[in-house]
Symmetry: C2
């Protein structure tokens, strides 16, 4: 039986998951692939910590070059994450004609152009299903299942940590800091949770998907990113009053001319499937001209879910090697010659409904003053809640949903409103996504 030889760089959570899967499930992989997948070298700076999996002596090394230069390695799996040295390792592996499997969304979001071009030039495959949505087969689906479809939008809950925190805040009456602490204790959030809760991780992922969906490079720094650290339990309560749930969404929409890419908390009607995707689960929706919507829900992180996506990519490369396929599916979904730069839409131009939570002094005329300012900026109000009692001594909450409005107008109106004497705190704005 043919053996596909794998070298692994990064023996952390996902890396040890990959090794465990290749050991525990080797029979079922052989039954399906008709070949075996064998890890012959593992590089990590720490090769002494017990990862709960047995590896043959001599396989472990602290020198990545022992993987990258190994003459028998067919596929290099990169699981150290971050920009460097991951970038250099991958580029060197490609130069050495190794196929690549990676879960590195940050690298692909920032340096995708360089990596994909190098892979194309050197005729090696690059699998990165694990970089977005863990076990959710979103990349494979965009590249293969939706190949005939003009994708119009991708929207999703792409960060399990943020979704866990928002779900917990929705379930009970716990505030952000308490739930974050609990998530850290349970291992759902990192010691430094910035990337997850401030939306940067989600932005990396939507950058990767945008490239595949529309065949365009994306300048990562141009993506509008807002995290969830400003969401209070009061906002969640108000959302519920209006029939919504708050989720951290990564959004990428294409109107045929420009792309609207952004990450921010959003209100979703609570009878939609995505509103009921809770805890550490992720969900990604693809809308296009043919199938309206397809939603994929699953575990977006974790050793085994993400590990299974890595192994599936290795098997895909193995199948290409065994069947003699060359250049079967372009790594960027579009043929390289058809990847064209599409402009990003400016955030100020987007339109939609808005949830606004003001903090105002409880006296007559305030509502009229605020709604006057909104009206002057062409913003009409769909409904108002004043009954929520939450006086913190500095005022009471005044909550509104608007009809469709322009982001530019909303921002201009809020600037005026925030300057009002009767408004005691910065207004909270949450965009509505139906």
């Amino acid at each position: 039986m043919k053996s596909i030889k794998v070298g692994l760089i990064g023996f952390g959570t996902i890396g040890s998951g990959v090794v465990k899967i290749l050991q525990d499930n080797q029979n079922i992989i052989k039954d399906r692939l008709g070949a075996s997948v064998d890890v012959i070298k593992i590089a990590d700076l720490d090769i002494t910590t017990d990862r709960g999996v047995n590896v043959k002596p001599g396989i472990l090394t602290t020198d990545a070059d022992e993987v990258l230069d190994h003459p028998e390695v067919d596929v290099v799996i990169e699981l150290i994450g971050g920009y460097e040295p991951a970038r250099s390792f991958i580029l060197k592996a490609i130069k050495n004609k190794k196929h690549i499997v990676t879960a590195n969304k940050a690298l692909l979001a920032k340096h995708g152009e360089e990596v994909f071009t190098a892979a194309g030039k050197n005729n090696v495959g690059i699998g990165f299903e694990a970089s977005v949505g863990g076990a959710i087969p979103i990349i494979r689906s965009i590249k293969e299942a939706f190949v005939a479809n003009r994708i119009q939008a991708i929207e999703g809950i792409m960060n399990g940590t943020a979704n866990y925190i928002l779900s917990k805040m929705s379930d009970g009456d716990h505030d952000f800091d308490t739930v974050l602490k609990e998530a850290q204790d349970k291992g759902y959030a990192e010691a430094d949770p910035t990337f997850d809760i401030e939306g940067i991780d989600s932005a990396h992922k939507i950058a990767v998907l945008t490239r595949l969906a529309y065949g365009t490079p994306v300048n990562f720094d141009d993506i509008y990113v807002q995290g969830i650290s400003g969401i209070s339990t009061l906002d969640i309560k108000c959302a519920h009053e209006f029939g919504y749930r708050i989720k951290l969404l990564a959004i990428s929409k294409f109107d045929g001319k420009a792309i609207d890419v952004r990450v921010h908390p959003a209100m979703i009607p609570e009878d939609k499937p995505m509103a009921n995707v809770n805890g550490v689960l992720n969900a990604i929706m693809v809308c296009d001209d043919l199938m309206e919507e397809n939603i994929l829900v699953g575990h977006g992180a974790g050793s085994l879910p993400t590990g299974s996506a890595v192994v599936a990519d290795v098997v895909e490369i193995a199948r290409n090697m065994i069947s003699g396929a060359q250049d079967r599916v372009p790594s960027q979904s579009f043929q390289e010659s058809n990847v064209q730069s599409i402009p990003l839409k400016d955030m100020s131009e987007i339109e939609g409904e808005y949830f606004l939570r003001f903090w105002v002094q409880d006296k007559p005329g305030v509502l009229s003053h605020i709604s006057g300012i909104l009206g002057n900026h062409d913003i009409s109000i769909e409904s108002v809640i004043q009954r929520i009692k939450d006086d913190n001594g500095q005022g009471v909450p005044l909550v509104m949903m608007t009809h469709d409005a322009r982001e530019k107008n909303i921002q201009a109106a809020l600037k005026e409103i925030n300057a009002m004497e009767e408004v005691s705190e910065q207004t909270v704005l949450i965009r509505v996504e139906k």
Copy 2:
């Protein structure tokens, strides 16, 4: 630019969708595939009805052999459905070394063995993504994304007509017959809706998925099938009282020894994503040892959604042809030599919670009598609702949820209970799936 030549048999709803997609979206397909896909022959008994798409003169024929024997046709798409003549057409095409794409779940459920074996022997590809879940990429996901995973269960809403009817019954207070009539008027249900509402279509689909998930042939006639025509608005109301929604589920579970395959209405907790998959949408959940659960939601039927799955399969075959791949992914997911017969579990052996709705005379002692019989059969009651007022002159409803119980015991108890003098109608049983 290379051209892949396609012959189509069956120019109905899906067939015309396929032709429309290949025309309207030819540019995006070329941008991704790097080749064109061209329909060069279409066979249908009716070649005069306007399908809303333009086809070149001379392409249409009433003679399927003109497609099957056409020397230039690379891929035959079969979209006539049913057993014959679809089976003969496909076998002839395979003999003529044409690759096959089909949406025919009935044929694959009943004659899968014959078709897959023939395709393997003749070294042709067979794509059937469109046979289950329309636009939902479930088959591709099982064969490729979950290739390293030991699948333990597949559960899903696989029939849009049945889901539309149940959703409408849940929304309003409309009974089955009224909603079915409305579904027929809207084109969501066929004039003869038996296959959809009696669960046969769902059984075809779960048979196809079972084969792929566990690598086993399935004797279609051994699958337990129960439809939704016995579900009343009262059951839906009661389900809601207990915090559930009723869905027609297709289920396939594997405990490592035997497979439990069945189709029946089931209660799902209403806070689960699948409980909120409404209307004509389908949803399919895959559970395994690595990723816990993955749920795919989308349009399970319709000209363009299903057509897009057909075209994706044609593109997959085109990619194999262009890249020189041979036998890349086995058509049955497992290598043919590893497909082994796994026994089906007898329905009487399954265990779970049950919803029971009795119709009883409103007099003292009835509850005690019924619960006594249940107790004698080792069935313990989790909760009871007697407050629902729906006296039809012949009695009142008495509704229960049980703890985990055996199907065998439930059936034996119901036999006794249905024979009681105070019980005026056959008891309704709905299984609970958590």
